[in-house]
Symmetry: C2
Subunit: 253 residues, 2 copies
């Protein structure tokens, strides 16, 4: 990659640098390869390290680069399409569900969740923890909140906690007639424990998918799923994967 | 807000600071209020400015704070739910479409778009630019790519460019039988021109929604929409808005 003269362009310097770096990634580097260190890169392109860092941050947001502690900055593989909305109106835990059960505890949910579930202040709900793997990598963690009113026949014989309890909660949930569901996707930052599970640094950008399951005229369960934003593209619709990648450099004008 | 002793906690310092700041935002500040400057805040909480900045960045990712050039850091209003997937299988420009036409040009699309549309190298397509407003604020910009093959009856009498041309392209698109559509949501960074329209800094995190419209056994049109990630929550499903906010602090354990 040649050292392009960056002084003469009207757009922000890091933005132009990002374009040049992006082209270099395509032509000179392969997926998984470690980039030269920041000092060497900055020298090569004749820019300040602060400028270089801004450009690297953009490329990381766009999923082109991954920064991993102890490894350095590597060229990221293309994002993986993860189907979020293909099967509509299905309870969690139905056949061919993409999620794996981790455990289940009884706990008071966050205030916003309690409000949606219309549970009383401090009232505990079944909280099922699940995780989702794609191409051998953990791509999402989920907390599924199920109030006692939604699973009235859950017996004390079922294990009080853990994966067995999780299975029992999901089994009971299937008895309800699912009337509909709503989903919302928003940007969030990874909690410390999710970050650890997802192999990200705490605070890394994540995509948070909130799903409300409607039954018996109310919100019978609520799921908050946290997806890696660096490696995942969430897909909705008829086919499981949309192969188009966002290319912020090119645009009609 | 009291100055909490931050030294004794095992989690990263900025993470705990974020929790403390988040509580302070709830109890002491109102929406739109400008935060004290970084030096004063750092002194108040007895943390280094680098720690403070990390905490502020997390709160910005979560939509709690907005940083605006020339204004400072302000307390953000709750995110607005923007319906992306409620009306399924409808062509852009159908009745009660949420988007406003901006213009239309003939241009060669990005390589990934050309591949999806199966247009030849360098072949130009109708590129309709639209924008979307919610609660009086521009929340998204869109580029809708329509190959000539999808609108064969478009006449030369129609304006060659501009909003009139955009209307003509969408009118012709409605003639095709829409067989299905796929959507994908992923994290991106705002291009300089989108950033300007969306009142964000270039490179700010955005949510990129790519939609493929299927007709006549192929992808007949492709839309790339860029949503503000700081103020928007994208909703999919039966009802237009999901009122739950992600609260990364509270979790069952």
């Amino acid at each position: 990659m040649g050292t392009t003269q960056l002084e003469s362009v009207p757009e922000p310097k890091y933005w132009h640098l990002k374009t040049v770096l992006s082209e270099a990634l395509d032509s000179e580097f392969s997926v998984g390869e470690i980039l030269p260190n920041e000092r060497d890169l900055a020298a090569r392109f004749g820019v300040a390290r602060a400028t270089l860092r801004q450009a690297l941050e953009q490329l990381e947001l766009e999923g082109r680069l991954q920064r991993r502690r102890g490894v350095g900055t590597t060229v990221a593989p293309p994002r993986v399409g993860v189907a979020v909305g293909t099967r509509r109106h299905v309870w969690p835990g139905a056949a061919d569900d993409a999620w794996q059960l981790v455990d289940c505890v009884q706990a008071a949910p966050p205030a916003a969740v309690a409000a949606a579930l219309e549970t009383g202040a401090g009232e505990t709900v079944h909280t099922v923890r699940r995780s989702r793997t794609s191409h051998g990598q953990l791509v999402a963690t989920e907390l599924l909140y199920v109030p006692a009113a939604s699973v009235p026949d859950l017996t004390a014989i079922d294990a009080p906690n853990g994966p067995a309890r999780a299975r029992a909660v999901l089994r009971e949930l299937q008895r309800l007639d699912l009337e509909g569901q709503d989903r919302a996707v928003e940007l969030g930052s990874a909690r410390a424990d999710d970050a650890k599970d997802l192999d990200r640094l705490p605070g890394a950008p994540v995509l948070v998918v909130t799903t409300r399951f409607h039954a018996e005229g109310r919100t019978a369960a609520l799921s908050v799923a946290t997806y890696r934003a660096d490696t995942c593209r969430l897909t909705f619709g008829d086919s499981p994967d949309v192969e188009i990648h966002h290319d912020p450099e090119q645009r009609a004008s």
